[in-house]
């Protein structure tokens, strides 16, 4: 198992090297002059030249690249100019915010999509099947930022059910003691129920808007895959042998239908990390997507590079986890094949 893990990780190295080179080149190719931007309103050409020298942008590209790689090997991703903070520290505080939101949204989506998909397949053609169709069509056709804005308008502005969309916590609550960076987990561990409820309330709307979007592919995939399995010979045999319908559906059909669902889950998860950007903007969520967008707008190289690199590593890790999950769920899948 360990050997397998290591060989898998080794294959990821070329892609990460590629990502490092490409992001470095791309950020330099972008139009825009960070020195002119950061020199301020009343800058003279010589003031801009001073800023350029300070930022090391007056050096040649290969020199800048060597410097960048050197820093990278020491775990230093540079400093963001627009927030003034080291990129590593910023990503470390912002990634848990994004991850908490994405995971929570995914759990909500799975909790709804899988039962819905299973029921729609089992009771094909009934109202629940139609419901599934309506929900999935609505889900894919409503972009996340739209549902986000709509929810904020209806549930906060009109109905006042949801708290003000001001980020991870109400303005008057202090963040819980830092353990994992996930507010729900940290506050539960420290027994701070007030913060736990506060964080959950803030999380509800953005997570639900993301869940609605990711629900669609999951539910459709579950339904389709279940239908295929339910129509196969061994299910007919099981039914003919007089097994209870629950045993047939859950023990036999569902376990066989779950593999493509896991693949979709992986895709949806990586997609959600990207979709975060919009939800984070709408709900003032201090996550990694918002950080990257702000950095792009100001031609702030270091955070953009740090963001892309972090995402690349996340994707690699995610793919690895999905591959390992396959093996656990279905013994027919051979990882070393």
């Amino acid at each position: 198992m360990l050997g397998l893990l290591l060989s898998r990780l080794a294959t990821a190295i070329p892609s990460i090297v590629g990502v490092v080179v490409v992001t470095f080149m791309l950020t330099r190719l972008l139009p825009g002059d960070p020195a002119a931007y950061f020199a301020g309103l009343a800058a003279s050409p010589q003031a801009i030249a001073e800023v350029r020298a300070k930022l090391g942008l007056d050096k040649s590209l290969p020199e800048q690249f060597v410097g960048y790689i050197g820093d990278l090997l020491q775990g230093n991703l540079g400093s963001s100019l627009s927030t003034g903070q080291p990129v590593v520290a910023e990503i470390a505080t912002r990634l848990p915010a994004s991850a908490e939101l994405t995971l929570f949204a995914l759990i909500v989506a799975v909790a709804i999509a899988i039962p819905l998909g299973v029921l729609a397949a089992v009771k094909q053609g009934t109202w629940i099947d139609h419901l599934c169709r309506v929900v999935t069509t609505a889900g894919v056709s409503l972009p996340v930022f739209f549902t986000g804005l709509l929810f904020a308008y209806v549930f906060y502005y009109l109905l006042q059910w949801a708290p003000a969309p001001t980020g991870r916590l109400d303005v008057f609550l202090s963040p819980p003691t830092h353990i994992t960076g996930f507010y729900l987990i940290d506050s539960a561990l420290t027994g701070n129920m007030e913060v736990f409820w506060g964080a959950l309330r803030q999380l509800a709307l953005p997570a639900i808007s993301m869940a609605i979007f990711s629900l669609a592919p999951l539910a459709r995939m579950t339904r389709g895959s279940m239908l295929a399995v339910l129509g196969s010979d061994f299910i007919r045999t099981a039914r003919a042998s007089g097994l209870a319908p629950r045993t047939v559906v859950f023990s036999y059909a569902f376990r066989n239908a779950v593999l493509p669902v896991i693949t979709t889950l992986g895709m949806v998860f990586s997609f959600l990390l990207g979709a975060n950007v919009l939800v984070e903007t709408v709900f003032a969520w201090p996550g990694i997507g918002l950080y990257a967008v702000n950095a792009l707008i100001t031609s702030d190289y270091a955070p953009v590079q740090g963001f892309v690199l972090t995402m690349a590593i996340l994707y690699v890790a995610l793919n690895l986890v999905i591959d390992l999950l396959y093996g656990l769920v279905d013994p027919r899948v051979r990882l070393d094949a």
């Binding site: 002119a36 003031a47 800023v51 804005l149 708290p163 303005v171 709408v282």
Partner: protein
């Protein structure tokens, strides 16, 4: 598969989320009353105004947490709202000063302390001024605008006496000591964190304060919020009324508006003109719009390129702009017109002022024909995508109007990060842009925007020795001679019209009815010290 338990837990959690009440303890409600919640679009990037690339929100942090030697007095504007008064310098850390032709001597307040309890002395003032003129970049540039150029100018006489020697007689020297840049920093504390490579402790000051102002930063989460508490030992002005200030970043303008309307936030600046126009009608909110001093939105033409090297073409453009339409459907009335004056002449020593141009397509066409461009001409009109909410509709209206006089302008959208670089190149034929100067003197604006020194804000590349002579004369003269020079360059700017003034923008702020004491400042950031709630 535990389908039932799935549903059960889902339902229970759902019900709990919906039912969880807003848990407001007694103490919280109290805290809410003593706290001012401000929601803004962009976060500060530094706690040090001298830092490389410190942005506008960083000026706000600096303004409220630091003292300067002097501050500006206040007056009421035309609508009865508080407005800083650029003609009146008042004591802050300095209690009095003795202004002589070649120097000024300040007496510092006795008993004034930094946040860590160290007394503020003249050596701290000198260290801070030395820092501002030495670190380069924006702070050094701003100091230079008031002829504050080298450390030798700043002299410590004793602990409570500080002298500034002048390198030349410049009427901007004294006002320049009241702008956000020359803040007084705790020199001993900074020196502890200085290194040989970083003698001014720039690195440490980015995230830490060495200040003594009316507010202290209690918590700063970069990109998210700044939480301030009042410095109860502050001696350099009347004690502020608000105990705590929270500045939260809410990137979506719609949500900022929703927070204000629901009463969850107390104050916000950054909203689109349309929202402000609508919020003005709301009975729950106060909206104050103050014309931004020394600022204008304008159309600039590159005088070094055809066809705009011809003054007749520039005048034709000035007669072709759809001014009133811009006021109504781009700005929703949230601006002051700078067009349609009685004539095209100087109207007094103030800036910006109305010129004599108004929409007159027939006259514009005649001017185009006179210039020899009756057959039409093609060009591009560029704008900063970073300010697209105003610029986009503005340029579309302009494009349509120019089409009527035979100028076919393609619209070129420049990304915000790229805009400054493009301005520097000075090869865009036509742009819409805004500029505002901190110090409210016509010659200050003209020095940046029309002078042949060709600063980045002279976006038209306009060079005219006669204009330069008048601007230079105005900078270092007074009385009738000064007025004649100002009249000279304003008349010339209107006649030559390398930039067409369109409107003077308003600085809008929306706040709850129970928030009072708002004061307009030239730096266009919020001063928490005068605000009161309740």
């Amino acid at each position: 598969m535990k389908r039932r338990s799935f549903f059960k837990t889902g339902a229970v959690a759902g019900a709990a989320v919906a039912a969880a009440p807003a848990i407001w303890s007694e103490a919280k409600a109290q805290a809410r009353n003593e706290t001012l919640l401000i929601v803004n679009e962009s976060p500060p990037n530094s706690m040090d105004i001298h830092g490389v690339g410190a942005n506008r929100p960083a000026y706000e942090v600096s303004w409220n947490t630091h003292d300067r030697l002097m501050t500006y007095g206040a007056k009421k504007d035309a609508n009865g709202n508080d407005h800083y008064d650029y003609t009146k310098l008042e004591p802050e850390l300095a209690t009095e000063w003795d202004l002589k032709p070649n120097s000024v001597t300040f007496k510092l307040r006795k008993g004034a302390k930094f946040h860590d309890g160290t007394p503020i002395t003249a050596k701290d003032v000198k260290w801070s001024y030395d820092r501002a003129v030495s670190v380069g970049g924006f702070p050094t540039f701003q100091m230079k605008a008031g002829s504050l150029e080298k450390p030798e100018q700043f002299v410590v006489i004793d602990d409570n006496t500080f002298r500034v020697d002048f390198v030349r007689s410049d009427k901007l020297t004294m006002p320049d000591m009241g702008v956000p840049v020359p803040v007084i920093m705790n020199s001993e504390l900074c020196k502890k964190h200085a290194t040989a490579a970083d003698p001014w402790a720039m690195e440490w000051c980015k995230n830490n304060h060495a200040s003594g102002g009316a507010y202290k930063v209690e918590r700063w989460q970069p990109g998210q919020e700044v939480v301030y508490v009042r410095n109860d030992d502050w001696k350099n002005g009347p004690l502020p009324k608000v105990k705590r200030v929270i500045m939260r970043i809410i990137p979506s303008a719609g949500n900022r508006r929703a927070l204000l309307e629901r009463g969850d936030a107390d104050l916000s600046f950054d909203l689109p003109s349309k929202d402000f126009a609508e919020l003005r009608k709301s009975p729950k909110l106060t909206v104050i719009g103050t014309p931004i001093e020394n600022a204008m939105m304008y159309l600039g033409m590159n005088v070094n390129q055809k066809p705009f090297d011809n003054v007749k073409v520039r005048q034709a453009v000035a007669y072709a702009l759809p001014y009133q339409q811009i006021m109504d459907s781009v700005m929703f009335g949230q601006a002051l017109p700078l067009f349609g004056g009685a004539d095209n002449k100087f109207k007094g020593v103030y800036w910006p002022q109305k010129d004599g141009y108004k929409t007159d397509i027939a006259k514009a066409k005649a001017l185009m024909a006179e210039a020899g461009y009756g057959g039409g001409v093609e060009t591009t009109l560029s704008f900063d995508l970073g300010l697209a909410s105003t610029n986009e509709p503005l340029t579309i209206l302009i494009q349509e109007s120019l089409g009527q006089i035979g100028i076919k302008a393609a619209i070129n959208k420049v990304p915000g990060a790229n805009w400054r670089g493009e301005l520097l190149k000075k090869n865009m034929p036509m742009i819409t842009n805004a500029f505002g100067g901190w110090l409210n003197y016509p010659e200050y604006f003209f020095f940046w925007c029309y002078h042949g020194q060709n600063a980045v804000f002279n976006t038209m590349g306009y060079k005219n020795p006669a204009m330069d002579a008048l601007i230079d004369k105005a900078r270092f003269s007074s009385g009738p001679e000064y007025e004649a020079a100002v009249k000279g360059f304003i008349d010339m700017a209107f006649e030559e019209v390398p930039r067409v003034p369109i409107f003077q923008p308003l600085l809008n702020v929306a706040m709850q009815k129970n928030v009072t004491g708002y004061r307009y400042w030239f730096h266009r950031q919020l001063d928490y010290r005068q605000l009161a709630k309740g």
